[in-house]
Structures are given as structure tokens and as C-alpha cells.
Symmetry: C2
Subunit: 345 residues, 2 copies
DNA sequence: CTGAAAGCGCTTACAG
DNA sequence: CTGAAAGCGCTTACAG
């Protein structure tokens, strides 16, 4: 018997001398099938290189075994630049999906577009993973809509009290405190902050807050005149540092809301002839691979992206299975490198 | 009329007072449907937030509108490290898929695993995009199997004469020539090569060949004693450079088979007190973002990953539509930075 | 333990 | 231009 095209469960049924439903049961390991029948079916399936048709199966079962990852691009950034911070997260997410037996759809979206309608409703995916920074206030309405529609999702980002849906994020305030405490120990008192610290960017805002808290406790709060808006890119960090220098206000340390900002800023500082860390100590946030390559190597607040990816998937799968799930805040830690390594200390 | 759960085309049919097939036709823009009927159907569909069920549609049409991206991980490298070279390619591929109206499944695989069986047969994807370097000879058998099965695919990698299936790759020989010519112009005559130059790694092999060709023409061929195996990672590059230094053979330039290798090697050279480029000029390959961050900034051979991603998708889609498609070799260009910028030149 | 039947939600000949 | 019918390949009650 030759089979044209792909083998179906019916083909196997014929060859095994059983009904098609029995093939289906045997294949999915149902306990109500004779052990010998199962073996026979499995052998034939293997030989025919049979694979269950995903579409038919998903249609019948009314769920897809697929998760969708939506990665938001910064609309202002150059097309080809994805925040490298998300790369290991992406790796971790794909691996976690594989462990859960889920396929992963991936899509890049502009935060402003109509992504919120597309995935859940077409049954392409059972749940959504939302990744990427952006203007949170603009974002929030869409999250609310997802909740209304009954679309399951988790997002990576700041965990806020009144938030629609479930979020996994790092402890940004805690991370900011680590940075502030480290700079204080170094004897730095005039700390500048590079990054949008408004409520539109809650992650950056919390990092600012945390750092400010500690500095305040030490008696020298962050001077708002030393805060410059920047988004997470090298160019933006470079420009922000130049703007900062242009203000002509003295500072002896720089806390950047992300490593990319920090790396851009270090370039601007070096070009001005400032020594790092002697004149200005610099701390970033994220611990992307480039932090180890930069000159000087960059002290930064580490976020565990591997763990984050796993938790995103685990949490989403809980929801898919109808179990309770909740938002989580992950701890951060400080990685000290040469950009804050003073010889005197 | 309230509809429990998701709206189906039948729900719309009832509301619009037409048959369900007519709804289907109207939605997919069939020309054989009355303009007024179409408008009515579309309005209702929009109002109900209706989306065509992907599974049902794919099942019926016997293709999925989905492409699968298999990214091969280097088994020897640390879990969380994906070659950053592939990041912009990934971005470009997802965008190209969107333009073609295709969904993109993503999966990380070990080159050694049974990925070749899974995707095509289960109708999850209409075609495969294969990304990632690895031992080509081990790989080749699986490619042949894909061809036999009739699975459609394109891969990123060296374009070789006797190769199963279609490949898109850069002109590695040409890239090697650019590097060799540049070093020759600088007056360098003792060029070392870091990277596996065997036929197991055709990309690296071709880069070696191209460089060697030009040097030969200039009268000072690559000395095989100055070639050290390395795979594309910083640590491997660091170790290879140390091994090279350990050989005690003089060299005045270093061509690394990838930027990651080059960056690791520069670290080893600096630690030995060698000046770059005065003592040793260094050239990498790929032009990853880190090349601009390294100290000194790294001269390298640029591969157009954005174009590559687009061509991979375009070529695969041609195959899906049953059109002719063929392998392509993309041009490279040299990006000169400080690691080869001699004051004298 | 197994089979006959129904149905998931579409698309596409086939009639009219 | 539209509708009735069939069928894509599964899974899952329902009988036996």
C-alpha cells in the first residue's frame, strides 16, 4: 500500500487493522487501549513518519498548544536594533516553551498598533507573552482590552498595583537602591541619572526612586537638575550625557537607566576627557553582554533574564490550564566592574 | 443575539441573513460577492471582533500560512548565549514574514537532534528557515532527508556546489579577500587566522581561503602554523589567541573568523601587552554591534543581515508558492575601525 | 478495550 | 451572485 502525500491516522488504521479513533487513542497514550494494539500502531506510525496534524488536532480540541511572543519595538529606534537585553530572555522563553510542549509564535509589533486583537481571537495561540519597553500609559488601555476579551497573557515589565493582567518584572526600586548604595560607599555625592523618570516609563522611574531613596538616607538626594531623559539606546545615552555636560552642573557619578544608555554616556564622557571612574563613576542596568566589553567594563545591576523567561512561560501556562497565577517581582544584584572600581577603595 | 464564546462565521451569517459560505467569501475578498452584501458582512464581523479561525482555515486549505525558524545552538556554548550575529537577522525575518502575511514559529534546536522530522509533517509550518553555524558534515545528511521528504526549506550558510536544498549565504571567500587585501595594504605580512578552517565549517574555511589567496598574490601566504581552531565565541577566541601566542611564532596581524573570536582575541593580546593595531592589526567578521564597542573598535567584514533575512523569507515563499528559487551569495564589505587604523597610514 | 458517529470552523467545487 | 453539500484530519462522548 502506497500512500500519496502525508500519512493520516486513517492510513495507519487500515494498516493496523483497527479503527481510526483507536489509532488516535494509541498515539496520545490513552490508558484505554490494549498494550499490543498500541505497539502495533506506534510501529506503523513511526515507519510512515506519521505526525499528528496540528491544525486538525487544534481545531477539534479548541486550543492550539501554541504561545505567541509579541516583542515591542521602540518606534524611534532604527529598524534593525532590538534591545539586546531581550536576547537571552528570548532564548529562555523558547526553551521553556519546548519544555511545556508548546510551540512559540513570534512577532514584532509597534506598541501603537492593533496587536491586541489579533492573536487570541484567531485561535492561533492560547496565550500571549508581551515583551518590550515603551510608554506604559499608552500601553495600559490595550492591556485592559485584553483582559476584557478574556485573552490570556503575561507581560515583562514593572509590577504596579492597579495593573490589568499579570506582570513579571524585576525589583526596579531594589536595583536602584543597589546602585545608590554602591555610589554612596564610593563617596560619590553628586549623582546624575540618565533615563526618563516619569510615570510613562515605570521601570526607569522605579530605578530613579530606589537610587534617590538611598542617597536621601545618606543625606544627598538626587538633584533633579542632574536627571536627563533618555531611552534605551546608545545614541540616546550619548546625547543625554552631552546634554548633561552642557548644563554645567557638577556631578561625580552617573546612574544610567540601562546599559545601552550607560555605554553611550561613557563615550560622551571620555570624549570630554573625563576619567571613569575617577572623575565620574558609572553604573548601568541590565547586564547585557556589551557591559563586559565596554571600556571601562561597566558596573551594572543584573536582572536574571533566564529565570524571567522561565517564569513568564510558567505563569502563562498556569493561566492556560486554568490555575491561579500572580505577578512577581524578581530580585536584582550588583555586578561591580571597572567603571566604579576606584583604586582608593 | 448574544454569542457565547468566540464568534464564528455562522454567527455572522445569521446576523447578516446570508449563508455561511457567503460570509467566508466576503471576508476573504472573493470577487463573486455583491458589494453591498460584503459591506454588511464586514461591518458585522468587525463589530463582533471576528477573526477567521486559523486552525479550521489551515486544515481546510492544507497549508498553514506559517513558517518555522529553527535556530541551531552551539552545543558547546553556555545555554543563554545565542550568537548576536543572528539577532538582527531574526528581526529582519520576522518583519519579512509579516509582510508576506506569514506567522513565524521559532524553535531552538541542537544540531544533533531530530528537528528534521517535526515541522513539515505535522503541517505546523509550510516551510523551514534554518539558521546557525555548526558542523556542516553532520548537518548535511539531515538536509538531504528534508529534501527527500519534500519539506521546503532555506538555510543560512555557505553556498556549496553539491548541497541539498537552497542556501543563502554571504560571499565568504570575497570577505576573506577584503580582509587580506586590507592587511596587505597596511604592510602586514605575517597574518594569523583564528577559526576552524576545515571543511566541517565551510564559512570559516572560505574566509581563510579568500584571505590566503590575496596574501599569496602579495607573496606571503598564510602560514598554517598561524591558524588556530576556534568557534564563534569570545572565550574560544581568547583561548585561541593564547594558544597562538604560546606557539612563539611571530605575527603582525590577526584575521578572526568572527567578531566574537576577534573580541576575545583582542583581550588576550592586550593582556600580553601587545598594542593593537601597532603590534598586531585585528580584523573580525560579521560586524555585530559589539564591534563598535570593543577597545579598540574592531575593523570587520560586514554581512548584510537585514537583506539576508528578507531573502531567506522571499526565497522560501517562492518555494511555497511553487515557483523556482535558487541559492544566492551576498556581497560583503569592509568596515575599517581602529583595530587596523595605523597612524602611519 | 474498541468502533460508529458527531463535530470542531472553515473553504471550495458544484448547482442554480 | 448565492446556497447546499462535502470534507480537511483529528478528538471525544456514547454505545457496546
Amino acid at each position: 500500500m502506497t500512500i500519496k502525500g502525508k500519512a493520516t491516522s486513517l492510513d495507519i488504521a487500515h494498516l493496523a487493522g483497527v479503527s481510526q479513533p483507536t489509532v488516535s487513542r494509541a498515539l496520545r497514550g490513552s490508558p484505554m487501549v490494549n498494550e499490543e494494539t498500541r505497539r502495533r500502531v506506534l510501529a506503523i506510525a513511526e515507519q510512515l513518519n506519521y505526525k499528528v496534524d496540528k491544525n486538525a488536532s487544534s481545531l477539534r480540541r479548541q486550543h492550539s498548544g501554541t504561545l505567541a511572543l509579541l516583542l515591542f519595538e521602540d518606534p524611534t529606534s532604527d529598524e534593525s536594533h532590538i534591545n539586546p537585553f531581550f536576547l537571552p530572555m528570548l532564548g529562555s522563553i523558547t526553551r521553556a516553551c519546548a519544555r511545556h510542549g508548546q510551540d512559540l509564535l513570534i512577532s514584532f509589533q509597534q506598541l501603537s498598533h492593533d496587536w491586541h486583537a489579533d492573536y487570541g481571537d484567531s485561535n492561533k495561540a492560547d496565550g500571549l507573552i508581551l515583551l518590550g519597553y515603551g510608554d506604559y500609559l499608552a500601553y495600559q488601555g490595550k492591556l485592559r482590552k485584553l483582559v476584557e476579551q478574556g485573552t490570556l497573557f503575561v507581560r515583562w515589565g514593572a509590577v504596579l498595583p492597579d495593573q490589568p493582567g499579570i506582570s513579571i518584572g524585576c525589583d526596579n526600586v531594589g536595583g536602584g537602591r543597589l546602585a545608590g548604595a554602591h555610589l554612596t560607599e564610593l563617596g560619590k555625592t553628586r549623582v546624575a541619572f540618565l533615563g526618563d523618570a516619569s510615570s510613562h516609563y515605570p521601570e526607569f522611574h522605579d530605578r530613579y526612586q530606589g537610587c534617590d531613596e538611598v542617597l536621601r538616607e545618606a543625606g544627598h538626594a538626587l538633584d533633579p537638575a542632574l536627571q536627563i531623559d533618555a531611552e534605551s539606546s546608545e545614541d540616546s545615552g550619548y546625547a543625554a550625557a552631552q546634554a548633561l555636560l552642557g548644563r554645567g552642573i557638577a556631578f561625580d557619578a552617573l546612574f544610567a537607566a540601562s546599559d545601552l544608555i550607560a555605554i553611550g554616556a561613557m563615550r560622551a564622557l571620555s570624549e570630554r576627557g573625563l576619567r571613569i571612574p575617577e572623575d565620574v563613576a558609572v553604573i548601568g542596568f541590565d547586564d547585557i553582554p556589551a557591559a563586559r566589553i565596554a571600556t571601562p567594563t561597566l558596573t551594572t545591576v543584573f536582572q536574571d533574564t533566564t529565570l524571567a523567561g522561565e517564569l513568564l512561560v510558567d505563569t502563562l501556562m498556569k493561566q492556560v490550564r486554568g490555575e491561579a497565577a500572580e505577578s512577581m517581582r524578581l530580585p536584582t544584584s550588583l555586578v561591580v566592574r571597572k567603571s566604579t572600581l576606584l583604586c582608593s577603595s
